[in-house]
Structures are given as C-alpha cells and as structure tokens.
C-alpha cells in the first residue's frame, strides 16, 4: 500500500481566516461563539452560533462563478486557495495533472429556502435565477471547486453528517493508498446561516447558555447543555508520499489510519460500540500501538449523551493510559460537515507548535469524563501522533490517525 501524506492545509473558520490566525486562536483559547439577535427574532430556542464572515470574492472570481456559490462554497474556495498555496500547487500544475476532489458537505439550505420563497411569492421558477440550482445541491462545494480549479480527478461530495469531513479525508487516503490517485483536495464545509440549523434548533440540541456565549460549548463538562452550531471550511491536500517527495512538496504529516463504522442503532443518539470499533480500526490500520498516540481530538460536541458515550468509547480502547483528550469544539462550536477536516488541521497546528489547546469550560467532570485526561488549560508539550474522532447522525463514525513528518 502506498503512503498518504498531507502537503497543504487551509482554513476559514470562526477562529481565523488563515492557518496563522487559527494557530494563535487555539494557543490563546479564543472562543468563536456569539449570540445572534437575528436568530432570536426568528424564533430560535438558542441564538448561539459561531461567527464566521462570508468572504467577498468580487474581483477574485467572475460574476458567474460567484453566482453559483453558496456561502460554504466561498469558505471552501478560500480554504482551498490557502491549502494549494502552501502545498506549492498552482493552476499550471492542476492543468497538467489529474487532481481529485473529495469534500464533506451535507446541506445547502439557504439557497433552497430562497428559491422556494421566490416560487411561492412569484409563481414563476425563472425568477429563482441561475444560481439557485447549483447553490442548493448537496454537491455544491465540489461542483464549484471542481470547475473553478479545473480539476479532472475524482470529484465527489461526501455526505456523512457530522463525520463528512473525516470520511472525505479517509476515503481520499484509500484512493491514494491503492494508487488510483496521486493527489486529492479533501476537506469539509459547513454553512452558518440561520435557516441551515433552524430545524436542528427545533429538537433542542443547542445550548441555551445565552448569557455567556463563550461558556456555552463545554464538551465533557458535567453541566453541558447542548452544542453550539458553527461552520466555515477546511481543506487538506493529501498526496502519495513518493509523489510529494518527487515534486519537492512540503510534507506536513502522514495519514496513518482511517477507521469507520456505523452504529446500526438510533438516528441521533450515539452508542459506544460503534465509535469504539471505529477507533480500534483506525489504530489497527495505522499499524501502531495506543502508546504511540500522544493526543486525542475528540468529537465531543457538548451534548450529554454524545460526550458520555465518546468518553466511554475512548476509555474502552485506551483504558487507564491517560492521553490528553480535548475537544476543540469548546472554541469553535460544532462545525458539523466541516469538523472532521478542520479538526485535523487544528490538531496538526498544535502538533507543529508543541501545544494542546485547552478544552474550554471543562470545570467539573462527570462520571465518564473523569476517567479521561482532559486539560482545561493549554498544555505546552510535544506530541507526534494524534487520533481524531468524528461521529454523525445516523450513527456514522470516522476516526483518523495522523503522524507528524519532520523534513
């Protein structure tokens, strides 16, 4: 099997619009969560959300290109430009090679709502405009990035709920391991507009700790009361190792293992067996022992049952070997379709800069989180291998094991 390495990263998130900004936010423990008054006016139970600015791409992309892009495609474009630049790839390279594209995305609600509003009001479909169809399809990110960058390799959107971004990287790694592709642009994108999470708010999944937005996302804490929705986009360029060496690419890390499983159980409540299986598979496929893992980036979203069952799964696999476990969602909220990709980048930034970001708001453990080593302050230490979990509605699970490569 061929080796898979990461040669470029880019991000657009509530913690920053570049790797440098995001690294600094992780280091200082910045929260990206705010209270959005518009959501309260709209009747939301919780007005909490991550704050993500929509990039203005006028003058960067043509009018037509922008017309086909919903917000999450714009985030993904910016993240991908940064990732390609860092990987040393330009348009000339893309034009001469078959580069693939696998991106996690599992909704595009805002343009669909706007089109339906137009049809209801005007009784005329033409008035939806030309962009509505391309913006509202689930594959909007890959169709937009694929045409903007003129990519000619595999082109697919991966929809695996909140594990979409992790599955995109994992599936991409499999295609490279088997020699079907040399390079794939992978990532995850998440829309942030209120419509996209209105029905999610409706099932009381969100924290209502509105008096202190930065305290609302509190993974593993005993007094957590729900997640905070977030978003943006994160891109990683994955590449076959020899291919990367040959072109003199900056090799950042190696994707050692991809584990996956499905719970075959409840649609929203996760269990323990499914995630445990995913963790074990990723470690086994990485070909390493658990002692070699220096940090676990948990999926933990700040919901009661989700965090509890993940803590149980981690304990089941790692036992009393107390590896630092944190959830960067304490800073970002739940970046959902993007999370599996962004959390690989957050973890790599920490790995490159010798720290583990604080699990904010972890003030009191519960029975299960007490068995894990969860720092609520930043830890300055070096680690060279980490494991990242992503679990989604419907019981889809993905785990990635990544190791630093020093050049």
């Amino acid at each position: 099997m061929k080796r898979v390495v990461i040669t470029g990263m880019g991000i657009w998130s509530c913690l920053g619009k570049s790797l440098d900004e995001v690294r600094d936010s992780l280091y200082t423990g910045k929260s990206g969560i705010i209270l959005d008054p518009l959501r309260k006016e709209m009747g939301f139970r919780s007005g909490l959300t991550a704050k993500v600015d929509i990039p203005d791409l006028k003058g960067v992309l043509s009018r037509s290109q922008r017309t086909y892009m919903p917000e999450q495609a714009k985030y993904a474009y910016c993240a991908t430009v940064e990732a390609m630049r860092n990987a040393g790839i330009d348009q000339d390279y893309l034009d001469k090679h078959d580069v693939g594209l696998l991106y996690g995305n599992d909704s595009s609600v805002d343009p669909a709502v706007r089109a339906v509003d137009t049809i209801r009001e005007k009784h005329d479909t033409t008035l939806c405009g030309s962009g509505a169809i391309f913006q509202s399809m689930n594959s909007t990110v890959t169709m937009n990035l694929g045409t903007i960058f003129r990519l000619r390799g595999i082109n697919l959107t991966v929809s695996g709920a909140c594990a979409s971004g992790a599955h995109a990287i994992g599936l991409g790694a499999l295609l490279i391991q088997t020699g079907l592709q040399d390079m794939i642009v992978c990532g995850g994108a998440q829309e942030v507009n209120p419509f996209s999470v209105g029905s999610f708010d409706g099932i009381s999944a969100f924290s209502i700790r509105e008096d202190a937005p930065e305290k609302a996302s509190r993974p593993f804490d005993r007094d957590r009361d729900g997640l905070v929705p977030g978003g943006g986009a994160a891109t990683v360029i994955i590449e076959e190792y020899e291919h990367a060496v040959k072109r003199g690419a900056p090799i950042i890390a190696e994707v050692l293992g991809y584990g996956f499983s499905a719970n075959g159980d409840h649609i929203s409540s996760p269990n323990v067996a499914g995630p445990s299986k995913s963790l074990r598979m990723a470690i086994e496929r990485a070909g390493i022992g658990i002692d070699e893992i220096g940090y676990i980036n948990a999926h933990a979203t700040s919901t009661h049952v989700g965090d509890t069952n993940e803590a149980k799964a981690i304990y089941e696999v790692f036992g009393d070997r107390r590896i630092e476990v944190t959830s960067t969602k304490s800073q970002t909220g739940h970046e959902m379709w993007m999370a599996g990709a962004s959390e690989i980048i957050y973890s790599i930034l920490m790995m490159q800069n010798d720290f583990i970001a604080a699990n904010l708001n972890f003030e009191n453990p519960d029975e299960d989180s007490a068995k894990l080593l969860i720092p609520n302050q930043r830890i300055d230490k070096h680690f060279d291998t980490f494991l990242s979990n992503s679990f989604g509605f419907g019981g889809t699970n993905a785990t990635l094991v990544v190791r630093e490569i020093k050049q």
């Binding site: 006028k58 009018r63 037509s64 017309t67 005007k122 005329d124 033409t126 008035l127 939806c128 405009g129 030309s130 962009g131």
Partner: protein, 79 residues
C-alpha cells in the same frame, strides 16, 4: 417613469449586476455580447429586470429582444 429615466436605470442596473462599464451599453449594442451573457446569466437578467421593474420578459419575447433599444422599448410599454 419617464423613458430617459428608465433607460438610465436599465443601464445602471445591468452594468452593476454584470460588472461591465456602463459606457459600453449603447442603444444599438447587442445585449448578450455586451453583457457577456450565456444561457444561464440570461436567466439572471430576466430575474433582475422583474425585480427592478416589475416586468417579466416572456420567453417568446426574450428571443426578439436583441439590443438595448429593444429592451428599453419593451419595458417602456409595460413598466
């Protein structure tokens, strides 16, 4: 709306939306070529005109409106 006013507004709205210099919009110029419209952005022009002037260009009429003058005349009769 006076016709001169209508012409000025049409030119301004189209130039801004399709990101062209307003000075290249002249009565005899071809709309598709001047605004660089393809079949998709033509749909956007119809939606924009409806939104700004309350006039929906009917599909059968669209093919006949080749120049800006034809568009001004079409709208002047209906707006």
């Amino acid at each position: 709306m006076e016709k001169n006013e209508l012409i000025a507004k049409v030119n301004s709205v189209l130039a801004e939306e399709f990101e062209v210099e307003e000075s290249i919009i002249t009565p005899d110029a071809n709309i598709k070529q001047t605004l660089q419209l393809d079949s998709l952005s033509l749909v956007d022009m119809v939606a924009l005109i409806e939104s700004e002037f309350g006039v929906k260009i009917q599909p059968a009429d669209l093919a006949k409106i080749q120049t800006f003058q034809a568009l001004y005349d079409y709208l002047a009769e209906r707006a």
